[in-house]
Subunit: 115 residues, 2 copies
Amino acid sequence: MSDKFEPKFDAAGLLTAVVVDVSDNSVRMVAFMDREALERTRETGLAHFHSRSRGALWLKGETSGNTLAVEEILVDCDQDAVVLRCTPRGPTCHTGAESCFYRRLEGDRLVAQGD
Amino acid sequence: MSDKFEPKFDAAGLLTAVVVDVSDNSVRMVAFMDREALERTRETGLAHFHSRSRGALWLKGETSGNTLAVEEILVDCDQDAVVLRCTPRGPTCHTGAESCFYRRLEGDRLVAQGD
């Protein structure tokens, strides 16, 4: 089965991108891509996003060096979300954690994984 | 380390939710939660979302029976996205596929996983 890729950007021109580490399938981060970010990602093989706060294209790791090499892109049924299966270079989170999802919810508290 | 849970809903009152199968860490679907969906999910243990198209609370599996039992909620660094680690009942995608992300991008085509 083969279908045409026709990404469905939302009213803000964005789709949701979930970054997964290919080595263990763990979710590293969630961000948004506009058409430009998607194109740059596919051209360069490095994950690019659209920063909603800065309103600008953002190469993940541009400052930190902690880039994400995209090995595979999965697309969901209605084509408004993608999973980027990546080989991360260094930690992904700006806090220094491997993943932005380094805490679990317990009651009304966030507890670091492993604690 | 413990921090207070203070979810950061966006301008539309939503945060992004990534559903992961606890058995193999695979991403099953991506959806959005408003405060109500988050509360209902935590009260019932079943994943609820906010349907952007219908503008309404949505219990995943309400019609199909293919619910998602939430085992753990991970929260990201800036608290605007969550990972719901779930035990899925039946396939998650409305197409009947286990995951909504059942296709990978190759060129400008979507190819079913396994093909």
